[in-house]
């Protein structure tokens, strides 16, 4: 057995030995140990170095509030920093290292910082880095140079850069009652609510339910409190309306009773089970919440209160009673209240010697004197600890007579030999979640504590959270809270029989002992009582400013241990009572949250992908896939050894010479149906659709309400009241919402329904001089000749036994057809078309060739319909009907939208025969040294196989008027300058003879 482990007692499994390392040294612990309890059992007192001064630090607490003993846990390549050792459950193979020490924990060169303590006092960063730099270093990079070292010296653990392979998940949960905290109050509330039939979630951040009942040594109804916990938890486990969440920290309280919690699912295991996440982020919507979050014990502020071996009294009691570990052999207790007497007795019973109880109060009650006697401790009432001694462990302390009313010390300091000092400065209810939910905390003079604020959401408090520190009160509170939470009437209950030690919950109003030496308020950020007073002297009088200036209560501490002592010192400096100084508002998270849990399943390959029906065919047939939004589309079907450019040039050429086929399934498709469908489309599009014959398609343009161009596409009239609208791939969702908005909000009288049918249809566009022959070879049930299927005509037929719908329209400028089939038949039809096309030299082509052919034709896409261009800018004004109003018609003729100097769509030809770049500026005169005078920019560019030239589409001031003139590209980022000719955007076959055939 290790030196400080007791032979009996506690809830650790002494038969189970667990091996782990800390800073490279191998240790053993037992089942049920935390890293803190196991190291303490091994005699380790030094856990870390402090933030600024690199002072040696040990354990202050035994729970989530631990500010000192932060460690980094290593799992493979992944390092997780800043975890309190008190929250790490040990497992075989656990590797943990200390933080903020260089080069090692026991020998730290930055510890010299404490010698020049003034240098790093409050506001150090602000004064050093934000003040003016004067003197010889003015204008130098000296501060930046210093900052590098200071940042290295002052800080918490460092995060790794390795990819985290762990799995994180999100869980959405709903319940009638969420109970936060599982001490006697929380357990009772959960049981009561569950007995009423409510759906209950009980969450506790510890691995074991029961809170203080696990180590209080009290009895409830003649059983030990720990047994009462076990029995109650077993009852809850047996119910199917209760979900128990151990190791789950409720860290955020948001609007509408939505709470966020982090469950540490498998951190305590050497290996997670198959598929088991590391952390689970719970988003809980609760009908009501029971806050039974207990209270934190406060440290006392006195010189040397941060030395390893100085610990909160109840933390020591917990180490002894729950883990069977003695934090010391010769113990002194220093307190301003009754509760520490129980701790003294507990340690005595566990085998330690209680050298003295130092109580600031002049006359503790007779009951306390009796307890001191029982602990065989010398009771030094009206005394205070004024100094501690020792290096990396406590060796002794000094005690002096203390007048708590005057705050004055008197008489000679007396030395006491001790290896452990327990302190208790009273209790602060853990009101963080209630504070997050809104409203300000209220100061209670008797308890010297902030009590929960007024309710702004549906929660009920219970137990120590309410400032009710006795177990009997907690159980009664818990029952009432459980009933209130489910809306039941609160009836009196039979009081349980509790055996506990006497304890008056009211502490003496003493927070600080002023004596020579550094007295710490915020252990984690090394904020001393003097720092708080310095901030006051420098004019920081608001608590929110105090917090930011001194960094008091920041980082993982979030005021858990430092809040009230800091405020008390500030209040004294201001000469005001604490309630007038107020407290800072607590914000989420209550405790640190892993970023992985917030990302949950949304990472890596689990980002949703949209695949067309022919996706697998493309991949199997050599396509290089390209992600366009969420869609995946073929970019090229490259042959071996081909570059991207060679591939698309080959594909485009072959299409114009013979035929090509491209997957157009991603186009947005919207069914517009109903008696008023045609009238609706007339209002939505700039051109007429009510005049469109059944079995015909028409190209349409939509504007936004403000008169700018919005989207374009063809719409097919499949029946009198049945239209199939197509949109650009990128705008499909936006157009759908646009249509729904107008039908729901503006024109509810129109009988038209819109439905997304994008995924219903597979689309293949087949174009080229031989496209019609290919169709004729494979389509049955209809002719595809010019008479049956004229330009913009639609026919229904079959290909290889499945129904298809064919519309003759062209994006490539060739004689072309779009063949639509049910998505489940998409690959079948595609393969039949490819097969039928083989004798005709049909090629499959991707987005690159598609883009090339559209640039050659001068068609617009999202690059040109960019939200800043009008129909006129794009030469689409021929589509603006004058016979009817439509969306955008009233605003499109505004002064600025018809001005002559607007950017207009043009074509560009590179006169130096070199590639152009998207985004390059167009200028009249090149000035490479000082680029200026942009008259527009390139929106799309390519090498045109049809023209044998590098061409581009561009938006250029004055546009059309410049046709036939010369300009230059000016692209300083890519160092591309050169002459271009401005031409019409219709580069290729402007008369459209090829597509009309």
């Amino acid at each position: 057995m290790s030196p400080r482990r007791t032979d009996t007692g506690g809830h650790v499994d002494r038969l189970k030995t667990i091996r782990f390392t800390f800073d490279g040294v191998a240790y053993t612990g037992h089942g049920g140990d935390t890293l803190a309890s196991a190291l303490l059992a091994n005699g380790v007192t030094l856990f870390g170095r402090s933030f600024k001064y690199h002072r040696p630090r040990g354990l202050l607490s035994a729970g989530v509030e631990e500010p000192n003993a932060l460690v980094t846990v290593l799992k493979g390549e992944v390092r997780e920093p800043n975890i309190p050792a008190t929250m790490v459950e040990i497992h075989d193979g656990l590797i943990a290292v200390s933080q903020n020490r260089f080069p090692s924990l026991t020998w730290d060169i930055h510890a010299v910082n404490q010698l020049g303590g003034k240098l790093l006092s409050a506001g150090f960063y602000y004064k050093t880095f934000m003040g003016p730099v004067v003197g010889p270093l003015k204008g130098t990079r000296f501060w930046m140079f210093c900052e590098h070292f200071i940042r290295r010296a002052a800080g918490l653990g460092s995060a790794g850069s390795a990819k985290d392979p762990a799995r994180y998940e999100r869980m959405n949960a709903f319940c009638d009652v969420l109970v936060v905290g599982s001490g006697p109050a929380g357990l009772m509330a959960a049981k009561t609510a569950a007995d009423q039939g409510a759906r209950v979630i009980l969450a506790d951040l510890e691995p074991r339910f029961g809170g203080s009942a696990n180590w209080s040594g009290e009895t409830i109804d003649d059983a030990s409190a720990a047994d009462w916990v076990r029995r109650t938890v077993a009852q809850l486990e047996a119910r199917d309306n209760v979900r128990l969440l151990p190791r789950t920290t409720v860290w955020g309280y948001y609007d509408n009773n939505t709470l966020a919690a982090l469950e540490r699912v498998s951190d305590h295991k050497a290996q997670p089970a198959k598929g088991e996440p590391r952390h689970r982020y719970w988003a809980i919507r609760a009908g009501s919440v029971v806050l039974a979050t207990g209270a934190f014990e406060r440290p006392l502020v006195f010189p040397g209160n941060d030395r390893p071996g100085v610990m909160l009294a109840h933390a020591a009691e917990r180490y002894a009673n729950e883990f069977g570990v003695l934090p010391g052999q010769r113990v002194v207790v220093f307190t301003n209240n009754d509760s520490a007497y129980r701790s003294a007795l507990a340690l005595k019973q566990a085998g330690a010697a209680i050298v003295a109880i130092v109580d600031v109060r002049p006359q503790p009650s007779a009951e306390m004197s009796a307890l001191a006697g029982e602990a065989e401790a010398e009771l030094l009432s009206g005394h205070a600890v004024v100094a501690t001694e020792g290096g990396k462990a406590l060796s002794g302390l000094k005690v002096q007579r203390f007048d708590m009313v005057a705050g004055a010390l008197s008489g000679d300091a007396r030395s006491v030999h001790a290896d452990c000092l327990l302190m208790s400065g009273g209790w602060s209810p853990t009101i963080h979640l209630a504070s997050q939910a809104g409203a300000k905390a209220e100061w209670n003079e008797a308890l010297q504590a902030f009590l929960p604020p007024k309710r702004t959401q549906k929660w009920v408090g219970a137990g120590a959270f309410n400032g009710h520190f006795m177990t009997l009160e907690a159980i009664l509170d818990g029952r009432n809270a459980g009933l209130t939470a489910v809306g039941a009437t609160v009836a009196p209950m039979a009081y349980p029989h509790i055996e506990s030690l006497p304890c008056d919950p009211r502490p003496a109003p003493v927070f600080e002992i002023k004596a020579k030496g550094k007295s710490f308020v915020d252990f984690q950020h090394d904020v001393t009582a003097e720092d708080v007073r310095l901030a006051h002297r420098e004019g920081f009088v608001s608590v929110e400013h105090l917090k930011r200036y001194t960094t008091l209560g920041m980082a993982t501490d979030q005021g858990k241990s430092s809040n009230v002592p800091g405020l008390a010192i500030m209040a004294e400096a201001l000469g005001k009572p604490i309630p007038e100084v107020g407290t800072t508002r607590f914000r989420p998270p209550f405790a640190p949250v892993s970023i992985g849990s917030l990302a949950a399943e949304r990472f890596g390959d689990l980002k949703p992908e949209r695949l067309t029906p022919m996706h697998d065919w493309h991949v199997d047939n050599g396509a290089t896939m390209y992600s366009a939004g969420l869609w995946y589309r073929p970019m090229i079907y490259g042959l071996s050894g081909e570059t991207v450019e060679q591939a698309y040039v080959r594909e485009a050429k072959a299409t114009r010479e013979n035929a090509g086929i491209v997957d157009v399934s991603t186009l947005g498709k919207i069914a517009v149906q109903g008696p008023d469908a045609a009238a609706f489309l007339d209002r939505v599009y700039t051109n007429m659709f009510s005049t469109l014959a059944v079995g015909k398609a028409r190209y349409g343009l939509m504007l936004r309400e403000d008169g700018f161009a919005f989207d374009d596409g063809t719409t097919w009239r499949l029946g009198d009241q049945d239209f199939l609208m197509t949109t650009t791939t990128a705008n499909a969702g936006k157009v759908m919402q646009h249509l729904e908005y107008f039908l729901d909000v503006i024109w509810p009288e129109l009988k038209a329904h819109v439905t997304s049918v994008t995924d219903e249809w597979a689309g293949a566009a087949i174009g080229g001089p031989k496209a019609r022959q290919i169709l004729a070879a494979c389509v049955t049930g209809t002719d595809v000749d010019n008479a049956t299927l004229p330009f913009m005509g639609i026919v229904h037929g079959e290909i290889s036994g499945v129904p298809v719908m064919i519309c003759r329209l062209s994006f490539s400028g060739e004689m072309a057809f779009e063949v639509y089939s049910g998505a489940g038949h998409g690959t079948h039809v595609w393969e039949a078309l490819v097969e039928a096309g083989r004798p005709f030299g049909l090629v499959t082509y991707g987005l690159e060739a598609l883009g090339t052919m559209r640039i050659e034709k001068g068609h617009v896409t999202g690059a040109e319909i960019d939200g800043r261009t009008t129909a006129r800018d794009l030469h689409l004004d021929w589509m603006l009907s004058k016979k009817k109003p439509f969306i955008g018609s009233a605003m499109m003729d505004r002064e600025g939208l018809v001005a002559s100097e607007r950017l207009e769509l043009v074509g560009l030809i590179a006169l130096d025969n070199r590639p152009l770049n998207g985004g390059a500026h167009i200028v009249e005169e090149v000035d490479e040294a000082n680029p200026h005078g942009s008259i527009g920019h390139i929106t799309a560019c390519c090498y045109s196989p049809a023209l044998g030239k590098h061409i581009a589409l561009a938006l250029v001031k004055g546009g059309k008027a410049r046709h036939g003139t010369r300009a230059h590209v000016s692209d300083p980022l890519r160092n591309r300058f050169g002459p271009v000719e401005i031409v019409s955007n219709h580069f290729y076959d402007p008369e459209g003879t090829r597509m009309h055939g």
Binding site: T258, R285, G287, D706, Q737, Y741, V745, M891
Partner: protein
């Protein structure tokens, strides 16, 4: 923030799309009153307090809702279908659980 869709029940705000100020009045489509169009397209109330808003339940039933939301507290005091003729389709009370 939760919005209680009259059809789907209370849902997280990420299921909804904000569709603008609910106080806008669209002029008659044939109107040439440029001031009225300008006000409709560009003018917004932006009150500090209760605000009439239009939200689409885009991640659910896709219906548009009139929502009265306090811009200071996010508290939602009223939600209704924009279309009066949907009101018969509202959720039954029995299912109206959080």
């Amino acid at each position: 923030m939760l919005i209680t869709c009259p059809y789907c029940g209370p849902r997280d705000v990420i299921e909804f799309t904000y569709q603008g100020d609910g106080n806008r009045e669209r002029p008659d489509p044939a109107s040439q009153n440029f001031e009225a169009w300008n006000a409709y397209v560009y003018d917004r109330l932006n009150p500090a307090g209760d605000h009439n808003e239009i939200w689409q339940h885009s991640g659910g039933c896709r219906v548009h809702l009139r929502v009265v939301r306090n811009t200071l507290t996010h508290e939602i005091s009223n939600v209704a279908f924009v279309r009066g003729d949907h009101s018969s389709a509202a959720r039954r009370k029995a299912e109206d659980k959080p």
